[in-house]
Every structure is written in C-alpha cells, then in structure tokens.
C-alpha cells in the first residue's frame, strides 16, 4: 500500500543543514495498522509530513497505492489526497463549524452534493459514537469528542489510508484507550490502512500490527510486531515489553527469552530445570496480549551447580517450544 524508498529530508543548507529524516525505507501492507515509534526529535513528524506531501523530500520517494507522491503535480496531489485522511494531536477542527459541518468539510472540498453529504455525516456520527453532539461547536466538546470528530472527518471521503499524528498524545489515559479501540475497530470494519506516529509505546502495543522504531532520523528496526517481540535482541521489543536493564545483572550472564505464538502457555521454565538441572532466576519480565496473541519477554539468568551447561541443547529445547533466545 505504502512504499517509502530511501527518503531523506534535509532542512537548511551548508553547515546549518539538519537531516531530519535519513535514508528511510518503509513498507506498509494494505489493511494494516502500522506504528512509527520514536521520541520527539526522532524525525517521525517530518516523515509523516513527507507521507502526506506537506513536505517535499530532499531525495527518495513515497508511493501510496500506485501513485508516486513525489512526482505528482499540484492538482494530481490534491486528487491523491482525496484518498487520504489525517488526524492530529491538537485535532485542528474548524472552530467556526459544528461537529457535523467539520465532518462534511472534505466532502464539500470534493464536491459531494449536499444531500449525500448529510447522509454520510449521519453515518460517521454513528460510527464514532457522537450521536446528539452533531450541532455542537468544537469548543463545546471534550478532547475525546474532538478527536472523534477528527476521525469522522478523516474518514468522510472513504480514504485508503488514515494518518494519525500523535492522535492520542493530548488525551487522558482512559480517553486514549477509547480512541485507540475506535481506531482498531474502524481498521477492522473498513479495512483502511492506518499509519500512526507516536512517542507512546502503549499506542503501538495496543493497536499496531507492525511497527518501526525511529531514532535520530533513522529507522532502527521495522517489522510485524509479533516477530519483533519474539526477537530477544529487538530494541523495539525492549521498549514495548521492557524486561529491565542488563546492567542490573552484576555477572552479565542474563539472557532475554522471547515468547510468542503460544509459548507462554507451556511450562518452559520448569522444563529447563527438570531437563537440564538449570537454576533459573527471573530478573524482569512482561506478558501482554499484542495483536490478539499472548506474547512475553523474560530476562533470566541461568546457572548450573556444575558451573557450565550445554548451551546448544538448551537453545534447541527453547526453540522447540517457540521461545527465542540468544545464548
């Protein structure tokens, strides 16, 4: 659905030049919820501005569907944008319009007749659960309600892609959960591809199918969430399911076990003790349901009364139980 190839964005020139996005390539399959996680300054906002063509990349390309955004003319770009929706951290609703009229905005821009607009707005009000608030102005709505208006507006013209720019960062935790669940539900119901940027790992953990980790303009890692979480060395997994710092373990003998694909239901740890006589100390761990699957990560330290053990056999045993580890 979305292909980003060697995208680079440099602001300024000469000595003052800042590379906000540095040779980023991403691939987002249709129908997925794709998260781009990073701290502020990691370049994710610039990346998203390039994805929506608000910013022209210095080099590289962005392809959405069959359209290469970097090659489009102004009017071609406007047409391409009719296939996009976007929601924002600060909502960016028009204060001069009611909720219903805000939702109708993209339809007006695309020349949809008034009767059809009214029908579509009514559907959307119901989809986002704003019945009874259609005639309220944004100033009369709570943050969560404003974002629901934002979501309805973004979806009004049946986009193929929904971009979310820190969509829940201005909301309280309970509202954040509601909005995330709504986004996931919309993704399931309509099949719209969602690309979101966030600094909150909770957002990625809760709704994403795949994710990329950005730092200093680079994509450090990307892939399906379950694969990343199963990888003991994944930095993204360590952010999503933290298992404590290796430096807390004085002997530096600890390893991370990644449980995915049902591994958490097997008594693997006691198996290690029975079969290999290993003493297993758990130093840290987390188990969560991600993308509908139970996944877990454990930081453990193995020790054996004899001082050493057969690492290959242990690794083979763990692999057999779909627990990944690097010994």
């Amino acid at each position: 659905m979305i292909e980003v190839t060697s995208l680079t964005k440099v602001y300024g020139t000469g000595d003052g030049a800042v590379t906000a996005v540095d040779d980023v390539s991403l691939s987002v399959p249709a129908g997925q919820v794709f998260g781009i996680l990073g701290r502020s300054g990691a370049g994710k906002t610039t990346l998203m501005r390039c994805l929506t063509a608000l910013e022209r990349p210095t080099s590289g390309s962005v392809t959405i569907g069959e359209l290469n955004l970097t090659e489009l003319t102004a009017s071609g770009l406007r047409k391409a944008r009719h296939r996009m929706g976007m929601i924002f951290q600060h909502f960016n609703l028009l204060g001069s319009r009611t909720a219903a009229d805000n939702i109708a905005f993209p339809l007006e821009v695309q020349g949809v007749p008034a009767a059809e607009r009214r029908k579509r707005v009514a559907e959307l009000i119901e989809l986002v659960g704003l019945q009874g608030r259609e005639h309220a102005f944004p100033s009369q709505l709570s943050g969560g309600q404003k974002q629901r208006v934002g979501i309805a507006r973004a979806l009004a013209a049946h986009p193929d892609v929904l971009f979310c720019d820190e969509a829940t960062s201005a909301l309280d935790p309970a509202t954040t959960e509601q909005i995330l669940d709504l986004l996931k539900e919309i993704n399931r119901k309509t099949g719209v591809t969602i690309v979101l940027i966030t600094h909150e790992s909770e957002v990625v953990r809760r709704i994403c199918d795949a994710a990329a980790l950005m730092a200093s303009g680079w994509v450090v890692e990307q892939g399906p969430l379950l694969e990343l979480l199963a990888d003991p060395d994944s930095q993204l997994a360590d952010i999503l399911l933290p298992v404590g710092d290796a430096s807390l373990d004085p002997d530096h003998t600890s390893v991370v076990l990644g449980f995915a694909h049902g591994g958490t239901t097997e008594p693997v740890i006691s198996g290690l003790t029975r079969r290999f006589g290993l003493d297993v100390s758990i130093l840290g761990g987390a188990v969560e349901t991600v993308a509908g699957q139970k996944v877990g990560r454990l930081r453990v330290a193995f020790s054996h009364p004899d001082g050493s053990y057969d690492k290959d056999a242990v690794a083979a045993y763990l692999a057999e139980h779909e627990v990944s580890v690097h010994l």
Partner: protein
Amino acid sequence: MTQKTWIEALPELLGALGETAWMVGWSFLIVVLLGTAVGVLLRLWASDGLVPSRGLYAVVGAVVNIARSLPFLILMIALIGFTRWLVGTAYGPTPAIVPLAVGAIPFYARVVEAALREVAPGKIEAAQVMGATTWDIVRKVLLPESLPGLVAGATLTLVTLIGYSTMAGVIGGGGVGDFAIRYGYQRFNEPVLLMSVVVLIIIVQLVQSIGDWLVSRMAHRRG
C-alpha cells in the same frame, strides 16, 4: 445676523448626517470588499503563506504602507485629480467616497492580514491534506476562522471612516464635518456645534457597541 438655535439647525444636521451616512456607508462597503481581497492576497503571498511571492508581497506591501503613512487630509487633496477623473467632480458627498475608500483600504487590508495570520497553521494543513484548493482554504478556513477578528477590525475601520468623513467637509464634501465647520468655526454657534459633537459621539458609540456585540456573540459560540 441672529444665531440659529439648535432646534432650528436640527433639520440641517439630519441632512448632513444623511450625507455622512451616504459617503461612509459606500466607502465602508468598498473598503470591506477590496480591503479583504488585498489582505487575503498579502497573507497568501507572505513568506509563510500558501503561495509565497517575495516580489508581490513587497510591492503591494509598500503601496499599502505609503497610503497608510499619508495623513488623510493630504491623501484627500492629493486624490482630487483622480476623483474628478473617476466621478466627474471632486466636491460633494459622492466624490468623497473615493478618498475615504482609498484611505481606509490599506488600513483594513493590514487588519485582515493580521487576523488571518492568527489562524492556526494546523487547520490550514488539515485542509490541505483533505485536498482543499487555495481558494477552498481562503473561503472555508481562513475567512470563517478569523471572522471575529475581521468584524472587530471592520468596526475599527468604520469608526475611522466616520472620523475621516468629517475631514471631507473641509474640501466641500458635505456631511457632519461640513456642518460643524459652518456652524462652529465660521459662525461660532457653540450650542449647534455641541449638538453635532454629541450626535457624533452617539453614532460612534453605537457602531462600536454593535461591533463588540457581534464579536462577542461569535466568540461565545467558538469559545
């Protein structure tokens, strides 16, 4: 020569008020239309605008600044030739509309430019991502979102126009200014002069109050 009492002068004052309303009303209409257009163009051409153009912004900005730096009386006199060419005569309430409009358009244009600058860039970007054209953004985002500021600025402009219009009296434009000069300055009829002053104060107060009321009504809905 006996002085007229204020009651005797009242019909004449009402006639002068009619002339003032005529020249201020038409010039206000022209100022709002053309001033909005120039203000929108300045905002679009600004370096952070939607269609940045350093050259156009500089040229139009300079013309606006020159027109604004001239005192109205001098602008009015300087425009006599232009007014005569446009209207056929330079004296009277109708020709006075020309210098009034020319004098206030640059002022209102800057008011509009400043009001549009207050619209959050995020709202404009949201419209862009929805595929809005520049014209859509002007019509559906910039102007409606800054409406309270535009109305407040228009109120200010209307009060300024009423003030300017009295100066039209100096070169025979008629209206309340002309009335005040004839009675107050040429005949030293203070009661009648005072009456025209009171009437002007009442009119300006009314204009300001109506403007404030409109702004607060809009601001209330938008929060």
